[in-house]
Symmetry: C2
């Protein structure tokens, strides 16, 4: 249904004007000059005119005799609600509201925007904007935008939350930088979002690559769900700005201090298969490769160059970005040696030398493109004496038409290279001013291929005792608390079948001694108080207690300290706990991200996570495979496999913990934050024990379910 | 003296030709078209012609009546030696040898190159090349290069080891990308190197920025020494390619496995104050800012934009690169609020809105440039409806002429922005197609300012007992060994006054028990064998021995194991060692880099250096301040300051160890590799103890001193 935005049979421009000073004129003019009237019907709407720019005008959409597919709304904001109602009554399915003065203009504007959305919902109108620059479809052709001039047709479609950025992009396309299929300026995203358009463009035949600039995502879970499917069909490349915005949220957990909005986006994009560009240059560089060349099938690149220096620079970039130089078959090397001059290099990078003419380039490219060890070809041209840029470009273009390998080029220089660059563009061979940018584009292709090859995730569910957990939460809240630790936390872990150390609450020293005898020495004593979350900070933990007298001393010391340092704390006594054998300390945690929901963390415990921030993230729900990926993303992952003679740890137990915690935080949206710290992981086959867990609940359950 | 290459009073073109097919024609033509004959004398040399392109030709330089400052040699390689001799006899001080067929062409070529260097040395001719593309000076004007067309004058000078890359650069300059003062293609660098030219250009008035592309540095120590001085005068920006070349050298130490050629370059460039660009794009982006704008005085950037989206992208880039957004004075903010529309943002980034005309931009820029919290201004322009690119560019240019702040711009788009970009170029305001590249250039300025502000290093020397070390080395070699550990290593550490644990060699278990009693329990026992370097690997270390029977058991176990696992090892017995109290384990080491010499490492010991490769490097000699910097470059540096309640460690002891080891490896070039692992560092004021050291010597001293 969103196709009516781009390929309408009829368009009404509400607020059309014959006065070139008015915005309503620009839109009319652009639609007309773009050639739309040859394909569909154009209805200017203006209560004061009978004809605008040669088209019969109507006072209202209600006066238009036929159906209207798309309404362009270009009128001052006070009139938008009434006009939108008329659109609804006319049965118009889609509207683009250009008008500003809504949410971006403060509280009153936000109120107005709510009114507009209500009307749209009431009449089932899909709405782009308000406060946007319009839409373009080069194939319809429809230029319902601010931008004068229709950009050239091409394989990429672009959506932008920022109108001005969108304008820059259209201007860049007009300059021949890239060909466009569709363009949409999304403005305030009151109704249609990136997720909606992404889903629509996934099935659009003229869109080969989906590009987006976004500043925020209203429903992150929905975005991931949709993008997981879309990216299996075509690449989605996104600039997400605001990456460094300082997290202003107060956090009380380790996980909270590690997990910012940037981590959430990184995890979400990875899970969704979305490629991330950090700037427009990177976005377009990748779009050129994806739009005009086949996806790279492996990671091996052949370089053909007329200059050793650029070959070295490209090799550096290839190795830095995780690609590889192809190692040619002997046949290839012989064939190259046969016709290349002695001083040339027949190994990769192939250096055809500065005096190479186009014929020598062509032959080298043909031989290289036939080698089975080549997944992509990068051609480099420097303007030395003999160089024939246009002829070399022709040779590259012709090889590119014959092979199913992606071919990209980097012609270095400006004046002499221009004719060659124009020829490359005609053949759809992306040219990059410097080798590194070409390599980055190839690396993005490789990344996309790998992401696309991942199976759609299957989410496991474990049989757990949800009622027990609900009961703990109910009691906690009844007691007016929002933090949970100790025995209550253990009950939750047990309900989700995660292993915990044997542990009992002792109200007195005598009770503690008795319990220690039952559990077996050595034991650990920990202060038990709902008001003391960071027990070690108040000297509230004693480990390695070997005897009854040890336990008695520890009990007295701990309770004395707790009373002294936190006099207002309610003191329940001490937990007597089985002393867990040493293992690798792991942190598993969760914070609730405002855009994506439950963000689950895995980190190496202790000093690693504190000093080195060595942690990785996934948005729940995630699959077993995704949990396994998390282990591989830790910088200190070698510790999991054992170093200095230590045996490998039980990775499956970590994965299992991640999946069960993922389920817990989905089942109970009232959990705001959670830390298992440490999860003590033993050697392979020996499992893991959650030594300690802390949880923070939302103040009241109803707040979370809204 | 190198100035004769660029500003000669007379030039001889040896191999000049009137045949447009010949290289000797191109050089003549380029020199003539470049305008040189108006300034100096041009002598074509060709035995077969009397006149070439209107200039009287001579059979040999010896026939030329006047002095010759510069000889351009454009003849086939077999004739180069003889011709160079004639140049010497004529007393020509400088020669550029274009001819190929030397070192780059294999063994015979290398032989020829040696001959050419000998002649040059004999006659005291300074020589650029062979196998190069020539030199250019736009101010002389002299275009003694392949490149047709004289690039525009400007503040940057460029030298390139790769001729083809140089050609690309000249073409880019011709296209208006940047203005050049000097250009040199260095070819095989048989005589004149980057270091020589850098020193010469440091005193060149028309060179504001020195740029270089290099693949290797023949004398790294000399390069650092010269560059330290040059970079105090003007920025030097270098592309060093071949960064990822896999280190193929066999290494036997921890330091060796960490330290590759990339680490050596990184350390050397940092010590030399040289900025590193990873590609040509970055090189030119930085060169534009350095060449045309004053150096940024602080790290605070003000943004003035007509589009919120680009403002956010620029803010991201600013924070990612360690710069800061300026916080305006209240006066500034009020002044902006007074004239900007309500919807605009008067805080940084200043958003003058999409409908801003040039006057609004101008006023905002003037107010912002007067704020004392601003160290640089970044102006962003997106092509929305009201945008007037040329007028806005004029406004920016005028503010730039009035202020001493650096101003850079990013006009986004192609077609509509062109007139504005041309105006910016006229005013010397660098324009970048995307905000991130502008921010990277500003960040490079900030980095340069900080590097330039560092004092020239003072190298300390400690009074040490070099004779004792020499004696250890002599004995080791006499014994036919090249590795040193244990007691011998301890003697070296003592000679350099580094603290070591008390330790004695015991040949028998009884001796070990007696020594342990003298040293005091607990003690450590370690296998003593010149053939076992990795003691723990063969179970050759026992710690925490509390009694005589412990020591006896350990002695027997260790010697049994050593005999069993390394039957061929010579076994001296066991070292009985004082048990050092626990501290922070640090690695201090050295490998000898082929280009830069002694590369000293600091790493966090144990798992940190093994798993996380957390280490940093400096080329010796280095100053105390440089050693202190090393501590701050560790990722896990927080450990030095104490985490989880641990006290800060004795950083001065680490610095002292680095400086003494730096001196040791300079004093004894025969040391190839060295590891102190661990250096146990105690809390502040308590010093550090070198627990273990291993050293590898060069096979024979004479090899090293060559």
């Amino acid at each position: 249904m969103l196709s009516a935005f781009f390929n309408p049979k009829s368009v009404a421009v509400i607020g059309a004007s014959g006065n070139p000073e008015k915005l309503g004129y620009a839109f009319m003019a652009n639609i007309i000059e773009g050639g739309y009237p040859d394909k569909g019907k154009l209805y200017p709407i203006n209560p004061k005119s009978d004809e605008i720019l040669g088209f019969k005008a109507y006072k209202s959409v209600l006066d238009v005799p036929g159906d209207i597919d798309l309404a362009m709304v270009v009128i001052p904001y006070p009139f938008v609600p009434a006009v939108l109602r008329e659109c609804g009554e006319k049965g118009i399915p889609t509207a683009v509201v250009i008008s500003a003065g809504f949410r971006e203009a403060g509280r009153e504007g936000a109120e107005r925007e709510r009114e507009v959305i209500e009307i749209a919902h009431e009449y089932e109108i899909r709405l782009i904007g308000p406060n946007c620059l319009g839409v373009v479809d080069t194939y319809t052709p429809l230029n319902a935008s601010f931008a004068a001039g229709m950009p050239p047709q091409g394989p990429t479609s672009f959506m932008s939350q920022s109108g001005a950025l969108g304008a820059g992009i259209l201007d860049w396309a007009l300059g021949g930088g890239i060909g466009l299929s569709k363009f949409a300026s999304l403005g305030n995203k009151a109704d249609v979002t990136e997720t909606d358009l992404m889903a629509a463009w996934a099935d659009d035949d003229t869109t080969k690559v989906i590009l987006a600039y976004m500043e925020g995502i209203p429903d992150g879970q929905e975005f991931i769900r949709v993008a997981r499917e879309v990216t299996k069909k075509k690449p989605v490349i996104v600039i997400k700005s605001g990456v460094t915005e300082a997290g202003s949220r107060a956090v009380s957990s380790h996980t909270g201090s590690l997990a910012g909005s940037e981590q959430a986006y990184k995890a979400a994009f990875r899970q969704a298969g979305v490629l991330r560009a950090d700037e427009m240059e990177e976005l377009f560089d990748c779009a050129l490769a994806f739009g005009y060349q086949p996806i790279m099938k492996g990671d091996r690149v052949a370089i053909v160059t007329n200059a050793g220096g650029t070959g070295i620079l490209a090799t550096d970039a290839i190795e830095t970005r995780g690609l590889k130089l192809s190692r040619f078959d002997l046949d290839t090397q012989h064939a190259l040696e046969e016709f290349l001059p002695d001083a040339a290099s027949a190994a990769n990078p192939v250096d055809v030398l500065g005096d190479a003419d186009a014929a020598r380039f062509a032959r080298a490219l043909e031989i290289v493109s036939a080698d089975q060890n080549v997944d992509a070809i990068l051609t480099l041209l420097a303007p030395v004496a003999a160089t024939e840029p246009a002829e070399v470009a022709e040779a590259i273009g012709k090889v590119s038409q014959k092979t199913d390998l992606p071919i990209v080029a980097s012609f270095t220089g400006a004046v002499r290279m221009k004719p060659g660059i124009d020829v490359l563009r005609r053949y759809g061979v992306p040219n990059y001013p410097y080798p590194k940018r070409a390599v980055k584009a190839l690396a993005a292709m490789r990344e996309y291929r790998e992401l696309r090859a991942l199976p759609l995730p299957e989410f496991e569910r474990f049989a757990v005792d949800n009622d027990a957990v609900a009961e703990v939460f109910r009691k906690t809240r009844e007691a007016g608390r929002v933090t949970i630790g100790d025995a209550e936390a253990r009950a939750i872990l047990e309900a989700y079948e995660l292993r915990i150390p044997r542990s009992e609450l002792a109200a007195t020293a005598e009770e503690a001694v008795k319990l220690a005898g039952d559990i077996g020495y050595p034991v650990v004593l920990k202060v038990a108080s709902p008001d003391i979350l960071h027990k070690t900070d108040v000297g509230g933990v004693r480990v390695g207690l070997q005897s009854g007298s040890d336990v008695r001393d520890a009990f007295d010391l701990i309770t004395y300290r707790a009373q002294r340092y936190v006099p207002e704390a309610r003191l329940w006594g001490c937990l007597v706990q089985e002393m867990t054998p040493p293992g690798l300390e792991i942190l598993v945690g969760m914070v609730r991200d405002p855009q994506f929901g439950p963000l689950v963390t895995l980190g190496l415990g202790g000093i690693y996570v504190e000093v080195l921030k060595d942690a990785t993230f996934r948005v729940a729900p995630f699959s077993r495979q995704e949990a396994e990926e998390m282990l591989n993303e830790l910088r200190a992952r070698a510790l999991l496999d054992g170093v200095r003679g230590a045996p490998p740890v039980d990775k499956e137990a970590i994965v299992d913990t991640l999946l069960r915690i993922g389920q817990l935080v989905q089942d109970f949206p009232e959990i705001l934050e959670l830390d298992i710290n440490p999860l003590m992981v033993f050697e392979q086959g020996q499992g893991a024990t959650a030594i300690d867990m802390r949880l923070v609940l939302a103040p009241s359950r109803s707040d979370d379910e809204s």
